[in-house]
């Protein structure tokens, strides 16, 4: 509990205090400076504008995708499912990287095919495309869950009562999905607002974005107070949206886990609409496929845009000079995720099954790190831990601590979800049969939550491997991360190496997922398999 205060609350307070520091004690003068600057005002509105637009578009695409997969019975469902998952398990700026490779100054499409020079991809257009591609899968997964938990018999009943297909959709399906849709919009809003990788690569100087500006203030101009103030501006809308989202979704949280999803008769979608949905999904799939394909090719092409002969040079670079970052990343993610997972499970168990003072505080604090943009946390950590008593900047510890406390909520989420599903009478039965508290936990509770624990762990591992926004403030020459390396390769124009790193990163993450799935399947049979959708 104390550790939560030190590593979650204290950094945030530090950011707040730093932003209020002036020559004459505390005051709001720095906020005045920030708001007076037309450029930063623009950044604030750009950020909100971009987030709202991405949230709306991404949720629309996610909904159509989810509807097609769960209700319309379109062909190639498996492919569409997979396509929507890939962006989630890859670093968040891969979209940006690929877009530059396709549409940038030396882009495959703009330059090589269309012979356009200096296509205006930097700024709104490119960033919007990248954000939508990156975040629509989040909406897809949320809404797929919502639609699956909705009993399709309801729709069949409405149809049976004489409603037209369109009426059934607007009067039954849509109203039932509204809380889920609202929730998805808010999640996307929060994530887009907090996103750092895509804007850093694509926003450019004409289209400033808050998270990038906060970073540039600190790393470029060493203006800590201003950077802190900017990040506070980022914090307020995202925390607000996050808690609104929890309110909406929280009310109907556990009703979704009862009963098996029943299969839809598929009658509620007319053949015309089905064809439309299929073509739509195919179109999105082609875009996503193009992005990953270009990354893959980019990793093997000699000089992207000019010389497309295959080479292993980029991988030689990655495995040679750049291999330290790979090793560091693996080590940091490998150490921090199990700790975060265990910690999270423990908190989940306490929160769900035990009553104690300060329970609410622990729950809120640990969930808070979900809501806070990585940029803010990164700044908070350098502010809080670059002086005694906890002088940690530049060490392995600061990266580990950051990752552990950032991914505890993942453990808590999956832990509380699974514990809420386990009927307390199962534990009572064990006690009744003569088991004490310790035996009950080790023989009954633990084996039942292990699958959820590991799927939470995989998720945390993926996030840790692909994180960039907070970590970019905390890396040093001694400890560096693959994601940060990719960013700097992109900045220095070395797209091939960036692509090679990305391929390796996605490969590692993919392997980890497959590995854990296999272990769980072997160990827990059907149980492990069914609990592992994330």
């Amino acid at each position: 509990m104390l550790s939560l205060l030190v590593f979650v609350i204290y950094p945030l307070v530090s950011v707040g205090l730093q932003s209020l520091k002036t020559d004459k004690g505390l005051g709001f003068s720095i906020y005045g400076d920030v708001l007076k600057s037309a450029y930063l005002r623009k950044a604030f509105f750009n950020s909100l504008y971009m987030s709202v637009l991405t949230a709306a578009t991404g949720t629309l695409i996610g909904f159509l995708f989810a509807f097609a997969v769960t209700r319309a019975d379109v062909p190639w469902k498996k492919l569409f499912n997979a396509i929507a998952i890939i962006p989630i398990v890859s670093p968040p700026f891969i979209g940006a990287l690929a877009i530059i490779m396709l549409f940038g100054n030396n882009g495959l499409i703009t330059w090589n095919l269309l012979k356009i020079n200096n296509f205006p991809i930097y700024g709104f257009n490119g960033l919007f495309l990248a954000q939508v591609v990156t975040f629509f899968p989040v909406a897809f997964l949320t809404l797929k869950g919502v639609l699956e938990s909705m009993n399709p018999v309801l729709e069949d009943a409405a149809l049976d009562l004489g409603g037209s297909r369109f009426k059934v959709f607007t009067k039954v399906t849509l109203p039932l999905a509204i809380p889920g849709i609202a929730g998805a919009i808010l999640i996307l809003f929060v994530e887009t607002l907090a996103d750092f990788g895509n804007p850093l690569i694509l926003a450019g100087s004409k289209f400033p974005i808050l998270s990038v500006q906060a970073y540039l203030q600190i790393v470029g101009m060493y203006d800590l107070p201003k950077g802190a103030a900017i990040s506070m501006l980022l914090l307020i809308p995202s925390v607000t949206a996050f808690f609104v989202q929890r309110k909406i979704v929280g009310r109907r949280k556990y009703t979704t886990v009862t009963g098996k999803p029943q299969s839809s008769s598929g009658k509620i979608v007319s053949p015309g609409a089905r064809i439309f949905l299929f073509i739509f999904c195919l179109f999105i799939t082609i875009i996503v496929g193009l992005i990953y394909f270009s990354i893959l090719i980019g990793a093997f092409a000699r000089v992207w845009g000019f010389d497309h002969r295959l080479t292993l040079d980029h991988f030689k670079f990655v495995f040679g000079v750049g291999f330290k970052a790979v090793r560091d990343t693996l080590m940091i993610a490998g150490i921090s995720t199990p700790i975060a997972g265990l910690f999270g499970m423990l908190i989940a168990f306490l929160v769900v099954r035990v009553k104690f003072p300060g329970k609410k505080l622990i729950e809120t604090t640990s969930i808070l790190s979900f809501a806070v943009p990585g940029t803010v946390i990164g700044i908070g950590y350098i502010l809080a831990f670059n002086h005694k008593p906890l002088a940690l900047t530049g060490t392995l510890a600061i990266l580990l601590l950051n990752f552990v406390f950032r991914y505890i909520p993942v453990g808590i989420e999956s832990g509380t979800a699974i514990l809420a599903q386990i009927d307390p009478s199962i534990e009572e039965a064990a006690i009744d049969l003569g088991a004490d508290a310790r035996k009950t936990f080790s023989r009954i509770t633990l084996p039942m939550i292990v699958p959820a624990f590991f799927s939470g762990l995989v998720f945390a591992f993926v996030r840790a491997m692909t994180a960039v926004s907070a970590a970019i403030f905390l890396v040093s020459s001694r400890w560096n991360l693959m994601t940060v390396h990719i960013m700097s390769q992109v900045e220095s124009g070395n797209l091939g190496a960036a692509a090679a790193y990305s391929v390796l990163l996605v490969g590692i993450v993919g392997l980890a997922i497959v590995f854990i799935r296999m272990v769980l399947k072997a160990q827990y049979g059907k149980l492990g398999g069914t609990m592992l959708h994330f």
């Binding site: 009927d423 009572e428 039965a429 009744d432 049969l433 003569g434 088991a435 039942m448 149980l527």
Partner: protein
């Protein structure tokens, strides 16, 4: 093992009003003999499950003492009590096979492996689940899961077996089979049992004695016969089966529980075989007659108690159910048997009804 509840009460904090407490069980006294099968029966929220969970040790009584096998167990946790519960949700461990589920309790007691194997095999045979020994619980039907839960409880040879509405998740047919089965197995092993249900037919089938509860209070304790035909109060009379209540005044009490005579609201004198304790001569009371005790006739006879017009006749094959309008607020319910031989009446027919002295029981208003 015998079970004794002495002045048991249980308070819960009221979830809606924090300043108030909710009394789930009020001053309950009950003695259960060795080998007896006792059912706690009542509508939902009457405190029956809370009582059962107090015996198991999952709840601690606010006041009072619980004795199991001649020892006060108030301070013993559930795992130290010689009780085993069959849960409403079965609470089968999903990650263990059927065999492992059944053997779980014995394993905890540290019994040798081959002994556990033998015991588990034996009890699974009795329960008819030997074929599923290696299966996982999610591959079993509801009835099979129920048997596993029962086997898991019985194999420990507990002093007291507790059932928390064990059949409420089964379909009607299976419920009937299982309640006979439960009774058979309890008799085979001779285990003292406490059974919680809100289904009166279930209670009648399995129990030696029934405890009828309402709002945390015991309304009556008695054999199924006593509960059904000699209820002590209106709640019990209404809750178990269907009932006709005639307002009467007590004219004369017989000697030593031998009933007495009452006057109905038209001044007619009737003999009743039984009068509930506590009633005195001159008291206003209800005379209870169950629908199936009625004898119907198309003409008035000397034994006729009154007459009414058929307003509803439902033919159910083995019986016919009637509603008779006798010119009062509530119609009378009557049931006749064997319509093939006895014939039946149609709507708007006037019929005269009578019943024997044995069928009449008087209870307080």
């Amino acid at each position: 093992m015998s079970v004794k509840l002495i002045h048991i009460s249980k308070e819960f904090p009221d979830l809606e009003r924090e300043d108030r407490k909710m009394l789930a069980v009020r001053d309950m006294n009950l003695e259960i003999n060795e080998g007896e099968f006792v059912t706690l029966l009542g509508p939902s929220g009457c405190g029956k499950t809370t009582t059962l969970r107090m015996v198991a040790g999952f709840e601690t009584p606010t006041t009072g003492e619980i004795w199991i096998g001649g020892r006060c167990v108030n301070d013993d946790p559930p795992n130290k009590r010689d009780t085993t519960m069959v849960f409403q949700s079965y609470a089968i461990f999903p990650h263990l096979s059927v065999e492992q589920n059944v053997g779980f309790g014995l394993e905890l007691k540290g019994r040798p492996k081959n002994e556990i194997k033998d015991e588990v095999r034996k009890v699974m045979e009795v329960m008819g689940i030997s074929d599923y020994a290696k299966r996982r619980p999610d591959q079993l039907s509801g009835g099979q899961q129920q048997r596993v839960a029962l086997a898991r409880a019985i194999v420990n040879k507990p002093g007291v077996l507790l059932f928390d509405e064990p059949l409420s998740n089964l379909d009607a047919k299976l419920r009937e089979t299982m309640r006979v089965e439960i009774r058979r197995i309890q008799q085979t092993f001779g285990i003292t049992s406490i059974y919680v249900t809100h289904d009166q037919a279930e209670a009648m089938t399995v129990s030696d004695r029934i405890v009828v509860m309402e709002k945390g209070k015991v309304m009556q304790v008695g054999t199924p016969f006593e509960i059904y035909s000699r209820p002590e109060n209106r709640f019990v009379a209404d809750f178990i089966g269907r009932v006709n209540l005639f307002p009467v005044t007590i004219k004369k009490l017989g000697k030593e529980d031998s009933g007495g005579t009452v006057l109905n609201n038209k001044g007619k004198e009737v003999r009743a075989a039984s009068i509930a304790l506590g009633l005195c001569e001159g008291d206003a009371a209800f005379m209870m007659v169950r629908p199936e005790s009625f004898v119907l006739a198309s003409k008035e006879t000397e034994t006729s108690f009154g007459s009414g017009v058929v307003t509803k006749a439902v033919y159910l094959g083995s019986v016919v159910e009637y509603e008779l309008d006798i010119g009062e607020d509530k119609p009378i319910l009557a049931v006749t048997h064997d319509p093939i031989n006895n014939g039946f009446y149609s709507n708007n027919e006037r019929v005269w009804f009578s019943f024997t002295e044995q069928a009449c029981h008087v209870l307080p208003q």
